[in-house]
């Protein structure tokens, strides 16, 4: 089974994401509450794809991504940002930071797994 690592600071969103990805998406799910925690845990896990919230206290999404990339095991792991505001040019900006795509918040849990798979497969196709 493929593993998704969800890095999200809000507990309720953590639960919803996990349930949606596990029950509907048939993913293995690991959840972290902060960028720091993610950097620590990611060493020992080996996620196939990472869902990374942009707006987090202390270490935001982009900073976390930078830190994660320092780990050679995660240097090329697909990362999808989750963010509330998306202006037209911002998707490109996030991609330049090293993400393969963006999922807007609030996300529909019913379609979350499909969205993840779609972005993931599009990135692979390139």
């Amino acid at each position: 089974m493929q593993m998704v690592m969800v890095i999200e600071d809000e507990p309720d969103i953590q639960v919803i994401a996990r349930i949606a990805l596990e029950k509907l998406g048939k993913f293995d799910v690991a959840v972290c509450g902060s960028g720091a925690e993610a950097v620590r845990i990611a060493q020992n896990l080996n996620p196939d794809v990472i869902l990374l919230d942009v707006m987090m206290p202390e270490m935001d999404g982009p900073a976390t991504l930078k830190k994660l990339r320092e780990n050679p095991k995660l240097s090329s792991t697909p990362v999808i940002f989750m963010t509330a505001k998306v202006q037209p040019g911002e998707i490109e900006r996030y991609k330049k930071l090293g993400a393969i795509g963006v999922i807007t918040k609030p996300f529909d849990p019913m379609t979350l797994p499909a969205a993840v798979r779609e972005i993931w497969s599009n990135a692979d196709a390139k």
Binding site: E10, D12, I13, V15, I16, I19, A20, K23, L24, A84, K105, P106, F107, D108, P109, M110
Partner: protein, 704 residues
């Protein structure tokens, strides 16, 4: 005798004064001409003859017994003079006596010259013999004329004199300005008709003069009584009894010794107050026969009145100017007057107070320099030359108005200024109005500080976005959880549970929509979501929207169709927003349609606009609701919210969008039958319109 010739030629003035002096001292001037000219002519003539004699006779012209004294050019002048004076009735004794003193004058001249004794003797001798000849010739001529002739000459002379007198009397009376002759005691000797009329007593010309001949000056009334009784007879009156104020002028004049004194005076002796320019002139008399003063009064009332009126008008104009200046200066917004080159001509107090804190040079400067705009500091040449100045919205606005001569209102600009050494940033709203002053194009520019308003706006926006975020976040968790449950993430649920979850889910979704609508309308109305206006074809947009709505309509058992088409018709609009409007109208039409009916969408020309119509067959809009229909949270029946799932903001949003695109929205409804909602947008034709892309009317450009 050259020296003598020269002496005589060069001393005409001296000789004239000399003989005049003798005449005055000895009393001849009583009978002689009063004008200097006459004396000069005599001297001139005598001198000419004397010079001729000096040419003709080498030595002195001694008198021989057989000499011809009549036909001699030397004596010709003297003889002519004799004849003239005879005709005037001058006695021989008097003439000859005076002639002696002419002689004496020439002798005096020679003696004064300081020649050496012998030469002087020679000259005196010559002069003596010359004058002897003149006198002899004169006497001979005199004797020639008969006594009768003398009388006739006398009569003629008298007649001439009478005529002369009459002529001058006429002239005196005809002078338009009042003239008063004063004798040497400043009593009135005569006054002309104009003077009498000025004193508002009627008179006939010459009345003052002829009264003198009839009445004795010593028998009439005392001066003051005369004036009080209103009599016309002023002769002999002291001038100060008529014009008491003239006393000091006369005293000054007497002391001063000038020939003339001029001053201005208001005289209220008459019924109307009159302004006069008054002059006092000493009577021109070289022989001191008439000593007195001529008083002339020149009526300047008209002039004075004009001057008064002008002063009043100027004062009035000055008051007006000060009033307008006060208004201009006190206006609560900053106002500047600029010329077309953006040079500041005039500013009001707000500008000076808010910007000129450190006594900046303002008048004549470009706005950036005058106000201390930080962009103007970029280049040493100041405002307009810096990098940022190219995109400066202030300069752009002003140049636009200067060029097009059209008003621009309410451009909002955020800018930093250097005031009192500190950098201060604030928002202001700039408007510019073309105005013509002194025939040249200028601009009236207002700067209104809207920083407070902007702060409040920004605060409100922050609140709105924070609040909406805080509202939305929990809602997404709610809808998310409910959705997962409903999808069977934790197994199937009983029917009752499903119903309850559906209720919760539906209402959560309604809340989300409501929050989104509120945010949307706020953004549209505050101009934050600037519409991207482009010319686009209306039909493809309608078709696309209709297609997208078919699924929704199907749920209500309503079919969608497109009626009248306008292929290739174009409007200037924001595509996404237009879709939003059409979708909303279709959605409403479907929701309120009778089942199994069709909703029709059409496009047609209406005036210069393209009208898009959405028509349904349904319950229609109740009359009492029609006026509120485009308002916020407007719903005909409270139950609709429950059934139809709306919050009542849809039409409000549509109206805002359509109007921001320069259009108009409306409806026609027949309750129980059908309803048509329509909106008009100006049609776009290729050749007429300019640049295709621009921001919506009233849209503001955010800070640059």
């Amino acid at each position: 005798m050259e020296k003598l010739q020269t002496l005589i030629s060069n001393n005409e003035e001296w000789l004239m004064s000399r003989v005049l002096g003798y005449a005055q001292d000895l009393g001849y001037s009583k009978y002689t001409s009063t004008l200097k000219e006459a004396w000069r002519i005599s001297i001139s003539g005598l001198s000419a003859s004397l010079l001729t004699a000096l040419e003709t006779y080498r030595k002195s012209p001694e008198l021989g017994p057989d000499d011809d004294y009549i036909n001699n050019p030397v004596t010709a002048f003297g003889i002519a003079e004799a004849q003239k004076h005879r005709e005037r009735g001058v006695p021989l004794a008097m003439f000859l006596g005076l002639m002696k003193y002419y002689r004496q004058s020439y002798i005096d001249l020679v003696e004064k010259a300081g020649f050496e004794f012998e030469y002087q003797e020679k000259c005196c001798r010559f002069i003596d013999r010359f004058f002897d000849r003149v006198e002899i010739g004169f006497c001979m001529k005199w004797a020639e004329l008969s006594r009768d002739k003398a009388v006739e000459e006398q009569q003629n002379a008298n007649l001439l004199m009478t005529n002369e007198k009459n002529k001058y009397l006429t002239i005196f009376e005809s002078i338009a300005d009042p003239a008063i002759l004063l004798d040497q005691d400043n009593r009135i000797e005569n006054m002309n008709q104009a003077a009498v009329q000025m004193l508002n007593k009627g008179s006939t010309p010459g009345s003052q003069y002829y009264r003198l001949l009839q009445d004795s000056p010593f028998t009439r009334e005392e001066p003051d009584e005369a004036a009080a009784s209103g009599s016309n007879y002023y002769k002999g009156l002291h001038i100060t009894s008529l014009f008491p104020w003239i006393k000091k002028y006369l005293e000054t004049f007497a002391r001063g010794g000038q020939e003339k004194s001029v001053f201005e005076r208001e005289i209220k002796e008459t019924d109307n107050a009159l302004f006069f320019e008054i002059s006092l002139a000493r009577m021109q008399d070289v022989s001191e026969k008439f000593r007195g003063i001529v008083v002339t009064l020149h009526d300047e009332t008209g002039y004075a009145q004009t001057e008064k009126a002008l002063k009043l008008a100027l004062k009035e104009a000055e008051v007006q100017r000060l009033n307008w200046q006060a208004i201009f200066r006190a206006a609560p917004v900053g106002i500047m007057l600029m010329d077309e080159d953006l040079k500041i001509v005039q500013i009001n107090d707000v500008i000076r107070r808010d910007f000129a804190g450190d006594n900046r040079h303002i008048i004549g400067e470009q706005p950036g320099n005058a106000l201390g705009c930080i962009y103007s500091l970029e280049d040493p040449r100041g405002c307009g030359y810096g990098e940022s100045c190219r995109e400066c919205l202030i300069r752009k606005t002003l140049l636009e108005v200067a060029r097009s001569r059209e008003t621009v209102r309410g451009r909002e600009v955020l800018r930093a200024f250097l005031i009192d050494g500190k950098e201060v940033q604030f928002w202001f709203s700039i408007s510019a109005e073309p105005v013509t002053i002194d025939g040249r194009g200028h601009m009236l520019v207002t700067f209104e500080n809207i920083t407070e308003r902007k702060k409040i706006e920004q605060m409100k926006n922050e609140i709105v976005s924070v609040v909406s975020h805080e509202l939305r976040t929990p809602l997404t968790s709610i809808t998310g959880s409910l959705g997962l449950l409903r999808a069977g993430a934790f197994g199937d649920m009983s029917e009752g549970a499903v119903d309850l979850i559906d209720i919760a889910k539906r209402n959560s979704e309604r809340l989300v929509r409501l929050i989104n609508d509120i945010l949307d309308i706020d953004r549209i109305e505050s101009g934050q979501s600037a519409l991207e206006l482009r010319p686009l074809e209306i039909m493809p947009l309608i078709e696309q929207t209709v297609d997208a709505s078919r699924g929704f309509a199907h749920k209500f058992g309503v079919s969608l169709e497109i009626g009248d088409r306008l292929p290739e018709a174009r409007v200037v609009a924001d595509g996404d927003r237009l879709v939003q409007v059409v979708t909303n109208l279709i959605s409403n039409a479907v929701k309120f349609s009778f089942p199994d009916k069709a909703v029709k969408v059409s496009a047609l020309h209406h005036g210069g606009s393209i009208r898009t119509c959405v028509t349904n067959h349904g319950q229609g809009i109740p009359e009492e609701f029609q006026s509120r229909i485009f308002g916020k949270f407007a719903q005909a029946h409270s139950s609709d919210a429950h059934e139809k799932g709306g919050a009542g903001l849809g039409l409000n949003i549509c109206k805002a969008i359509v109007e921001k695109m320069g259009g108009h929205i409306g409806f026609e409804s027949e309750p129980g039958a059908s309803t048509t909602f329509f909106f008009d947008l100006p049609e776009w034709r290729e050749q007429e319109n300019g640049p295709a892309k621009k921001t919506a009317a009233g849209g503001r450009e955010l800070h640059d």
